[in-house]
């Protein structure tokens, strides 16, 4: 009996430990793997949390999934990168207002052997056509993420109907950016990636940037408050404070200051 009483005490202690985390004010932010895995949040959040005493809890998903999290009322703020989807989210009444926060760009990554002969080019659409013509291995995120939508738009601009054209060369992995890069590294395949994740990615193997600098590779990030009128559980005050800080001069400066190896990962471009 003594043993079981002790076990109960231990269980109660564990529960206390578990609930202790939930005491302070916090908001939940649904964001993308690119912002989390590039290390941006680790750099930004301590600055904000210290000033406002609001804890920011980030759940990192693909853009499509992150927006769905907002649609179910499970997030207070959504911070993602696929403008048409974000505008639909606001139009449907799930988000209050969409604000530009920052941008970076996508890069085409490929093996150094460059079987499709695209390395060093500046025209991403031309590169996509060459990859298709060479039937060179290409890894797609295939997960309704912002990067996946950007990739699909580029196939469309290339005049290639990817749904019909995909074959063994086109590998739809359904994975986040990092795991997809791991797959591409393993297969020696081309892949579209956001620059932030690429810069912080360690397992590059034989991969390198093949194409960059095309205006069509622009990657805009936007932030939205989840509509408190729809979900009363949304912590409007704290969430709005975070959004206001992100687009303020201080927040924008903190974004610009985040660099890896001297290279900036994101460029602030809020409109005020």
């Amino acid at each position: 009996m003594d043993l079981s009483r002790r076990a109960l005490v231990a269980l109660a202690a564990a529960c206390a430990l578990v609930t202790a985390h939930a005491q302070s004010t916090y908001i939940t932010v649904a964001s993308t793997t690119s912002t989390e895995q590039s290390g941006l949040f680790k750099h930004l959040l301590p600055v904000f949390e210290k000033k406002y005493a609001i804890q920011v809890r980030v759940v990192a998903l693909g853009t499509g999934q992150a927006l769905d999290m907002g649609r179910r009322g499970d997030a207070d703020v959504v911070f993602v990168h696929a403008r048409p989807l974000e505008e639909r989210f606001v139009a449907e009444g799930f988000g209050v207002q969409r604000l530009d926060v920052m941008y970076n760009d996508f890069v085409l990554i490929g093996p150094q052997s460059d079987p499709a002969k695209v390395a060093g080019g500046k025209d991403i659409v031309e590169a996509f056509r060459k990859i298709y013509a060479a039937q060179a291995a290409f890894v797609s995120r295939g997960d309704r993420s912002g990067t996946h939508f950007a990739e699909l738009a580029l196939w469309k601009s290339s005049g290639i109907d990817i749904a019909a054209a995909k074959g063994a060369w086109y590998r739809d992995t359904g994975q986040g950016m990092g795991p997809a890069l791991n797959s591409a590294a393993g297969m020696g395949a081309y892949i579209l990636a956001d620059r932030g994740t690429w810069l912080s990615f360690r397992n590059r193997a034989d991969l390198a940037i093949a194409v960059q600098g095309d205006a069509r590779l622009f990657n805009q990030y936007g932030v939205m408050l989840v509509n408190p009128a729809k979900f009363p559980s949304v912590k409007q005050g704290a969430a709005q404070a975070f959004i206001d800080w992100l687009v303020s001069a201080e927040g924008q400066g903190a974004i610009a200051a985040y660099r890896i190896g001297g290279e900036p990962l994101f460029f602030p471009n809020a409109k005020n």
Binding site: V18, G73, G176, N182, R202, S233
Partner: protein
């Protein structure tokens, strides 16, 4: 092989320096998995014993179902618990999603069939052996079940450890219902998944090494406690 050497070195570094972030993650892993196993044990042992000794219609079907549920895919459990706890779901008002509490619920569901099914088998075997004896002593079904469970309590430890193994190893369920939030719901397995995503394979492997050491340590403690108890009360 370079990756393994790197991993071993950084695993040792993490342990030797008592890395604070790692300690938090280890602590939360233990709190979540042990809580889940405790809850599953409280429900699973009586359930398993009742199924072993009780005779009622549909019993065989329940036993088959329970055995099959030992193979529940964690991702599916995670998804179901997510939809239940989501603000838009039936239990949304409690605000449990993305908290350690949600992770305990998901792991309890995963572990319960394992503990109940293994307990049922153990009690079933003991029942086959001692049924006549217990009946001649005039024990009722309930009394017999209690006697048997108490009698084989040390073998039931294996059932509980199997449940703990499942809880501490799974990533699919805690990833979905916990959200892998830094400092709040990040546990060993989700941290390993994250480092793999970042392409930091040596660190991911090092964390894996730490997790395995932890599980070995837990099992060793359980074993020692069992031996001591057996000597004293056996």
């Amino acid at each position: 092989m370079g990756a393994f050497a790197d991993a071993a070195r950084s695993a040792w570094g993490l342990i030797a320096t008592g890395d604070a972030a790692l300690l938090d993650i280890v602590g939360l892993s233990l709190a979540v998995s042990l809580s889940a196993v405790a809850c599953a044990t409280v429900v699973g042992l009586p359930l398993g014993a009742a199924l072993a000794i009780g005779r009622f219609p549909g019993r065989r079907a329940i036993v088959i179902l329970l055995n099959a549920l030992m193979g529940l895919p964690p991702v599916v459990v995670g998804l179901a618990v997510y939809l239940m706890l989501s603000r838009a779901g039936p239990l949304g008002a409690f605000g449990l999603l993305f908290t350690p509490g949600a992770m305990v619920i998901a792991q309890t569901i995963l572990v319960l069939p394992i503990i109940a099914a293994l307990c049922r088998q153990a009690v079933d075997d003991a029942w086959a052996e001692y049924e006549e004896q217990l009946r001649s002593l005039g024990a009722s079904g309930f009394g017999a079940a209690l006697t048997l469970v108490w009698d084989i309590r040390f073998s039931l430890l294996t059932a509980i450890l199997a449940g703990l193994g499942r809880a501490s190893a799974e990533v699919g369920a805690v990833m979905i219902v916990g959200g892998n939030i830094d400092g709040v719901t990040r546990v060993m397995t989700t941290a390993i998944a994250l480092e793999t995503s970042k392409g930091d394979l040596p660190l991911a492997l090092a964390l894996g090494g730490v997790l395995i050491l932890l599980v070995i340590a837990l099992n060793a403690v359980a074993h020692v406690v069992k031996d001591a108890a057996q000597r004293r009360y056996g």
